[in-house]
């Protein structure tokens, strides 16, 4: 009985057999997991383990080699308005002529048709998002004039303005000041109380247990996924951080390089 009620509402994100690569190198192989609703989830692993790639693959920002991803039981195309993406700061062109308010307002464009302009309500939503992140005073500032933490908060405000049910964030805590860190934690709490789900790529093992309910350990493949207390064991951490499976990687790379995967699948 408990099982069936769990499966009545599909999970916010369900990943099955996801494989991704970069050039010929296998970045992720056969990753599968489901994410519970209304929790904060961290994707953790060593550098280059494929954490950002996993997030981008889930969001359809990078091509996947195999597998499928479902959002609340449906493909992304049907659920775009329910998902919001916060990128790494390196991804943005900070020289672009645009001010803080207009960046946040951009979050409302997903709801608009081609020729529509943002309405008064859209502007109010953007305003509230900025105030929630304590960036309202900066609304007319050019983004090139912001500090790292301020930049992060602007992009969080944009995601907030999207009024999504699922938030995917790529290293939101990287290189931010203490005030911003606190602001992000407060944001997480507020979103959770509204039943929203938050998935973050997180770089810092020391804080991950404190900030997040659920952990997904990745090292080119799934090592473990579950509640923080259960997953953060010595054995799991060793498997994640203790060096790669070179044989697995070498052979998968060779497979991609010779296009063996394609050659095989035409059978």
């Amino acid at each position: 009985m408990a099982n069936s009620s769990k499966h009545q509402t599909p999970p916010p994100v369900s990943v099955q057999n996801l494989s991704m690569r970069y050039h010929h190198k296998p970045v992720l192989t056969d990753v599968s997991f489901e994410v519970p609703e209304g929790k904060t989830i961290a994707i953790v692993g060593p550098n280059g383990a494929g954490k950002s790639t996993l997030l981008k693959g889930i969001m359809g920002l990078e091509p996947i080699m195999g597998g499928q991803v479902r959002f609340f039981g449906e493909p992304l195309a049907n659920k775009r308005l329910a998902t919001a993406y916060v990128p790494q700061r390196e991804e943005i062109d900070w020289d672009f002529p645009i001010n803080v308010f207009d960046v946040v307002l951009m979050g409302r464009h997903g709801q608009l048709k081609l020729w529509q302009r943002p309405s008064q309500i859209d502007r109010e939503i953007a305003e509230q998002a900025l105030k929630d992140l304590e960036m309202w005073d900066f609304k007319d500032r050019q983004i090139s004039e912001l500090s790292g933490g301020q930049q992060q908060r602007v992009f969080l405000a944009r995601a907030l303005a999207q009024k999504a049910s699922l938030y995917l964030m790529d290293e939101p805590f990287a290189g931010v000041d203490v005030a911003t860190e606190k602001a992000i934690i407060e944001l997480f709490k507020a979103l959770k109380s509204q039943g929203k789900t938050i998935i973050c790529v997180h770089h810092d093992l020391n804080t991950v247990g404190e900030y997040f309910d659920w952990i997904i350990l990745i090292n080119a493949r799934l090592v473990a996924a579950g509640p923080a207390e259960e997953v953060l064991t010595t054995e799991n951490l060793n498997k994640t951080y203790g060096g790669r499976l070179s044989l697995l990687n070498d052979l998968t790379e060779k497979m991609y390089r010779t296009q063996l995967n394609k050659a095989h699948d035409t059978d």
Partner: protein
């Protein structure tokens, strides 16, 4: 006198249309693709003429768009399939297209009334003499030079496109990944921009020729990039710079008896350098003030 007005009007429209399109090329770091397309359209025009034996505007625009999109697509394919760097891919494709275009022009010089140099820098001074008559040559009404109407139509298309899809263009230019995650088809918008570049280039051809189109695409927009604080103002400022360049350029060419279009392009460049100079001076003055107040 009336000829001067036609020349100035044509030049203004050319400069304005190029500035508008150029803003997006600068923001998306696709200035070189703009350079490439403006060279390749020569081949498009020549082929369109050779195949259809007509110099009608829609035919030329059509040929230009096809070759322009082909240039963009081939460059991208070469980059992906041939594993070649993107600027190398662009370079190989457009130089080949341009070379073939020049060869065809010199082979069929009798038939096409382009000659090699006209292709490169056009001659806007001749624009007024190629006029369009509605209703036949005898009793029709003269409505102005062909080149003027060509660019007027293209300018209108560009303007309307930008106004209608402003938000989309802004999102796609600023943060393509966000656009993708919102479900926007960024491939479509990329090729739409390339289409705008193609039609703007070919309509400007008659007036200013290939190389100078590049100048008008890139230079006023770069000046605007340095000082604008929003996309909308960047578009306005770029057009403003382009118009000032037209006025200064025209006067210069009159004074020095040189090519009008080249002078306009040079003026645009001078305006850019003056802008950079002023910004540099401001920057140094600010630094001096800061270090002075720190020392105090």
């Amino acid at each position: 006198m009336i000829n001067d007005i036609w020349i100035l009007a044509t030049a203004s429209l050319v400069a304005a249309a190029c500035a508008l399109v150029g803003v997006f090329l600068i923001l998306r770091r696709q200035a070189l693709m703009g350079d490439a397309i403006s060279h390749s359209v020569l081949l498009g025009i020549v082929l369109a003429y050779l195949i259809t034996d007509s110099r009608a505007l829609p035919i030329m625009l059509g040929g230009a768009v096809i070759i322009g999109l082909l240039t963009a697509w081939l460059s991208d394919s070469l980059h992906r399939v041939g594993k070649l760097q993107s600027d190398a891919s662009i370079g190989i494709v457009f130089t080949l297209f341009f070379a073939i275009g020049v060869i065809l022009v010199s082979l069929y010089t009798g038939q096409i009334d382009l000659d090699q140099e006209c292709v490169l820098y056009g001659e806007i001074a001749f624009v007024p003499f190629d006029t369009i008559y509605i209703g036949g040559l005898e009793d029709g009404i003269e409505i102005g030079p062909r080149a003027f109407w060509a660019i007027a139509i293209v300018f209108t298309i560009v303007l309307i496109t930008i106004i209608l899809s402003f938000n989309r263009l802004q999102t796609v230019a600023f943060h393509p990944n966000l656009a993708l995650s919102l479900g926007i088809n960024i491939v479509f918008w990329h090729y739409l921009l390339m289409t705008l570049v193609s039609i703007t280039t070919v309509a400007s051809f008659d007036a200013v020729g290939a190389i100078l189109v590049v100048a008008l695409l890139v230079i006023p927009a770069s000046s605007a990039y340095l000082i604008a604080k929003s996309l909308k103002t960047m578009l306005w400022i770029a057009v403003a710079y382009s118009q000032v360049a037209v006025i200064i350029g025209y006067s210069l060419s009159y004074a020095l008896d040189s090519s009008i279009s080249a002078s306009i392009a040079v003026s645009a460049g001078l305006l850019l350098f003056i802008t950079i100079l002023i910004l540099e001076i401001q920057k140094r003055r600010r630094h001096r003030l800061i270090s002075q107040s720190e020392a105090a």
